[in-house]
Symmetry: C2
Subunit: 409 residues, 2 copies
């Protein structure tokens, strides 16, 4: 069972999320694993809602991921069922049947096809999924649907997250204001499981499914695909974006009509992704890594992730040690083009190494002060090209070992 | 400075290493960083000694690595200088000059060319290398050279290793007995540096340099290149193999003449590599991961390393939790071909998951007992092909955070 973890020192308050036309939520305590809290979320979408999704690249995905991938080409969504406590991963044919059972129950109450109901589960791996407990609460959930239940929704999907995560923005499409709101869950641990990231974003904009998918796929690159807590990729990672169309904006003609929408969407994705890092297991510091001068943007991002995933860099930050030598090591091990004698490294904006050697007499005082803060910035300049990238991670602390190395009871 | 770390619970005793014809050692306290201990090793090789080497793939290698790579094609070695406390990494042109200075000093006392003197340094990164301190002790070292000083040599190269590492074997070439002995240092931490692996192996066999290089390159695959402590690749990793020829074995005609030699060499490499893992930072358990049924040996090794580098797998082992769900996750994230519904996982020889689901009613008692031991075995069968691989790692504990996350003083 999840332990009572102290709230992350990097937590941010839950914003006020106004209702969005075309979506309603309800949550319930189905007792899948947790006791005394809501662990199932049902979302209902208005007819005509379009949907986009991106999923884990893990080759052993959970049954809900497979289900969502299969129905996504339909492009429309009427329902979403999310549960916490059981990941429905590695359950064979029984897992697929459990997923279908949940979708069918929701479809019956919502009056739609099962293939219009999206699913996500996080929690224990390899334990039979008690879908009948979700079925049992479905009628109550349907009767309870209401548009303003964002905060409840954000809490019901948590596993060992230490704070609920949500973000909201507005934008205009063809002069009509539309809203984009999202919730996410991140890196918490339920033995015997791993950290899993889920995010659900809803907008009242009317956007065709194919356009929505393109926006989401591009949007996750600099947000959810640029964060890492411990380099481990969950079997259940899922980001879904629903567009209800209730705002009544004029039809989208081309990509330029969506420039403001895209910015607002990317801002929500960015907010949610950073909240996941801020709640990384045992995190005490948020680390932003900016890579410039790489041979390409792709190379810059890979170098950034090599730094972000280096246990030695992460423990150094935990120890408030401005250890640029470990950053050099991580750049070198990334396998990406790098020239030792052109490399420069800054921490907290102070360039400590340049042209392959330490900067003689750099001012250490601001670096020391920066390392004591909770937001750490690392800059690396490869000096080779114009490729840039930015990634985020958190430090590696005793808290991570506590959460993940505790005896299974 | 290095702290006094408790000796690893996985430590193995230093074996008795007999003298090997054609090599002599001396150690001295040069005061490069440590006080009150020997920190420089000089080895002298008989004329005609051949040499092979493999080095870190890190793109930001230290000056000694660059030096060795440059002189290796010469194929002969007369000297080896190793220091602990300063890695001579990221020191620009001054680093290269310091390396040359050390090699020249050794060459003068040994009566050879500087290009016959191999170098290795581990310790602080980005701090000027005080090569003059090595030069200052060189005459004393040369006067003190003696064949039996293996144990001193093994200790002089340690940084924060908690025990000295050595291994020895014999084999026959053309009816003549030859000996192979080696020393290594592993994963210790000196702020602001990273774990670094060095190994030096000497044999009295007469083996041409090209043959030696082929043997070493193949030998490091299943040994040093199949171990990982924390996925971070040092800028200084170096394995050197010297063959003095003093045993007087007949000339090697073809690879078959060396079958026994190769086995003995591989055994020494294997011993040393596992000792490095046994002294992994904070290690309390040695983990052996066997992967079978992969599409190729290369794929099997990559899957093994994905498991071995997973912080979630390593913390689970630290917590004595037989968490096969995390192993499934690590297989899936490796990017290698895998089929969720054919995958099988065993811990301690007990198959807990098979055909994509938990094995109903498997006997948990022997698994629990196995997890309490210090040698953990994980088996994974992909069920796809005949590719096999084996890798080793250690668990991830609070000790790792203590060692690497401590404040820089």
């Amino acid at each position: 069972m999840a332990k009572d973890l102290p709230v992350s020192p990097l937590a941010v308050p839950l914003p006020e999320l106004p209702a969005i036309g075309g979506v309603r939520f309800a949550t319930a305590a189905a007792g899948i694993r947790y006791r005394g809290r809501d662990d199932v979320l049902l979302a209902s979408f208005a007819p005509g809602t379009t949907v986009a999704g991106v999923f884990t690249r893990n080759k052993c995905p959970g049954a809900p991921v497979t289900w969502c991938r299969d129905i996504l080409p339909g492009g429309t969504a009427r329902g979403l069922v999310v549960n916490a406590g059981n990941a429905n991963v590695f359950n064979g044919a029984a897992g697929a049947a459990a997923a279908r059972l949940s979708a069918e129950a929701a479809a019956r109450t919502l009056g739609c096809a099962p293939e219009q109901v999206f699913l996500a589960s996080t929690g224990v791996i390899g334990e039979p999924m008690p879908a009948e407990r979700i079925v049992a609460v479905m009628d109550g959930l349907a009767a309870d649907l209401a548009p303003e239940r964002w905060a409840q929704a954000a809490r019901a999907i948590m596993t060992t997250d230490t704070f609920p995560k949500a973000s909201t923005r507005t934008a205009k499409i063809g002069g009509v204001e539309v809203r984009i709101s999202g919730i996410a869950k991140g890196s918490g641990m339920i033995a015997p499981d791993m950290a899993t990231m889920l995010a659900f974003i809803v907008t009242d904009a009317a956007v065709p499914a194919a356009t929505l998918q393109a926006l989401l796929r591009r949007g996750v690159g600099p947000s959810f695909n640029s964060i890492t807590v411990d380099s481990d990729t969950s079997t259940s990672d899922t980001v879904l974006l629903f567009a209800t169309g209730a705002a009544g904006n004029p039809p989208v003609e081309d990509a330029r009509d969506l420039a403001a929408f895209r910015r607002a969407l990317n801002a929500v994705l960015h907010d949610l992704a950073l909240m996941v890092v801020r709640d990384g297991e045992g995190a005490r510091k948020l680390i932003e890594i900016n890579v410039a001068g790489a041979v390409s943007a792709r190379s810059a991002r890979r170098i950034g992730l090599a730094i972000a995933n280096s246990p030695l860099v992460k423990t150094a930050v935990a120890g408030e040690d401005a250890n640029w030598g470990r950053i050099v090591m991580a750049v070198g091990k990334s396998g990406e083009p790098a020239d030792r004698d052109r490399l420069a490294v800054a921490i907290g904006g102070v360039w400590m190494a340049r042209d392959g050697r330490v900067v003689e007499g750099y001012d250490e005082a601001p670096v020391v002060a920066h390392m004591r803060g909770s937001d750490i910035r690392i800059d690396v300049d490869l000096g080779l090209g114009r490729g840039r990238g930015r990634v985020w991670t958190c430090d590696l602390t005793h808290g991570y070992i506590d959460i993940n190395g505790s005896y299974r009871s």
